[in-house]
């Protein structure tokens, strides 16, 4: 289990990194934390001929507040920084809550926020959460940059909108409106395993406790993060009674997703879990939205 040979570059700026990517195109792979790429190379399942190591690019490591009460994270920010950040716990508690569920402490020391998103593993929490929070992602190449909403970023299994000459450099998350609640529910065999099913839910209530906005995003039930649009729509304008929540959860599990089977869980079991977890996530999110004074103005 030793990686095959490759050419190696360790640029110290984004500009330099983009030059290497542009030169080598599809032959090159950007090396972020390496916690998914290196094992894949050790198994020789991935054999990139060029590695562009981003770990020396200091401009990609940051967690910053933005002026609108939101957040900006540099793509190379390590999970271990995120999980210890008070700014994250304050402005993006859903991300904060998810961190201990992401792999193991040692992986989190090295793994990066942007790396996880760009890798686009359908079982990864951060992709689903980025969509649930309405995040945006900044992609850069030698000629310029573009901002992509997280819900448009993922296009398939391990596949995103990132072009071979592009780099994901930053993620940004908007301010969470008042009366917003959040939850992440997962079932995993062991705490740090990829979840059999996971779901992130974010709901916002109006002053009459009616649901104004809802977003429900699954992991591990498709080729990427899967948004439960119909279930979310069914909540709008409703009082979130147990019956309404239950119905929405059922809709999410039956109409919004089409999970697959693997050695750990059949499609039927995944569907069942999706229903249970959506219900639980919505209950928690609803309770938090009602009770949250923290974000009230």
């Amino acid at each position: 289990m030793k990686p095959p040979p490759f050419e190696y570059y360790a640029p110290t700026s984004v500009e330099e990194a983009l030059a290497h990517l542009s030169e080598h195109g599809y032959d090159a792979k950007a090396l972020a934390g390496g916690q998914s790429l290196i094992p894949t190379m050790n198994f020789r399942l991935a054999q990139p001929s060029v590695l562009v190591d981003l770990n020396n690019i200091s401009e990609l490591f940051f967690i910053r507040p933005d002026e609108n009460g939101g957040l900006r994270l540099g793509a190379m920010t390590r999970h271990s920084q995120v999980e210890r950040s008070s700014l994250i716990s304050e402005r993006a508690p859903l991300i904060y809550e998810a961190m201990p569920k992401i792999a193991t402490p040692q992986i989190r020391s090295r793994g990066t926020f942007g790396g996880s998103i760009a890798h686009a593993d359908p079982s990864a929490e951060l992709g689903a959460i980025s969509i649930a929070l309405g995040g945006r992602l900044r992609l850069q190449n030698q000629t310029g940059e573009r901002w992509v909403p997280a819900n448009e970023f993922f296009i398939g299994m391990f596949t995103t909108l990132i072009e071979p000459d592009e780099l994901l450099v930053e993620a940004s998350f908007p301010n969470m409106p008042p009366r917003t609640g959040w939850a992440l529910q997962e079932v995993a065999r062991r705490p740090h395993d990829f979840a059999l099913v996971g779901v992130a839910a974010v709901v916002t209530l109006d002053n009459n406790n009616l649901c104004k906005k809802a977003r429900i995003v699954f992991l591990s039930v498709g080729d990427g993060p899967v948004e439960a649009h119909q279930a979310a729509e069914a909540l709008i304008g409703q009082t979130l009674t147990p019956e309404i929540i239950h119905a929405a959860a059922e809709m999410a599990a039956t109409a919004d997703i089409d999970p697959g089977s693997d050695i750990h869980a059949s499609a039927e079991y995944r569907r069942s879990l999706a229903g249970v977890l959506t219900r639980r996530a919505l209950e928690v999110a609803f309770k938090r939205a009602k009770g949250s004074s923290k974000f009230d103005k």
Binding site: K2, F6, E7, Y8, P39, N42, Q106, S109, R110, P191
Partner: protein, 160 residues
């Protein structure tokens, strides 16, 4: 065609300069190029935790890093923690609590716990179990390891 890189790295306080192929894993570099065989290798896909070292003070899987990435950085391995004549308090506690059976996973567990105990000097059982949940042990069932960590926490806070 193989190309090579010069690497200068400080391990356990000693500076080493070597020339490496970029694909050389940090775990292999430590074990075979530097002869620091206390860091063990078991899965090489980042699950078992045997190869855990401290990289600039952070616990990392050395099998998921390239040696070339260590250039200019500081590493601590189990050899830098204590010697059999002068054990680190955590090693002492592991000895007393019978936290070791075959001892293969032990160095990785120790290196995971050193920064953990610095951050959480008085952890409870659940926190300890979460802290080592990225380290597989096939011999102990973990209980005596957890006991060792509790004992170490007690010893270390008493010595402050």
């Amino acid at each position: 065609m193989r190309h090579f890189f010069d690497v200068s790295v400080t391990v356990n306080g000693t500076r080493y300069e070597r020339t490496v192929e970029p694909r050389l894993l940090l775990s292999d570099f430590l074990r075979h190029d530097l002869g620091l065989t206390g860091t063990h290798v078991s899965c090489e896909h980042g699950v078992c935790g045997s190869c855990t070292i401290l990289f600039d003070g952070q616990p990392v899987r050395s099998c998921l890093m390239l040696a070339v990435q260590a250039n200019g950085h500081e590493i601590l391995t189990v050899e830098g923690l204590g010697t059999s004549d002068d054990l680190h308090p955590l090693q002492e506690a592991f000895w007393e609590a019978h936290s070791v059976q075959c001892g293969f996973c032990t160095p990785g567990i120790l290196m995971t716990l050193v920064p953990f105990l610095e951050e959480n000097p008085n952890p409870n059982e659940e926190e300890i179990r979460a802290a080592i949940s990225g380290n597989l042990c096939r011999c102990t069932g973990y209980q005596h390891i957890v006991d060792g960590v509790k004992l170490a926490a007690k010893k270390m806070s008493a010595s402050l």
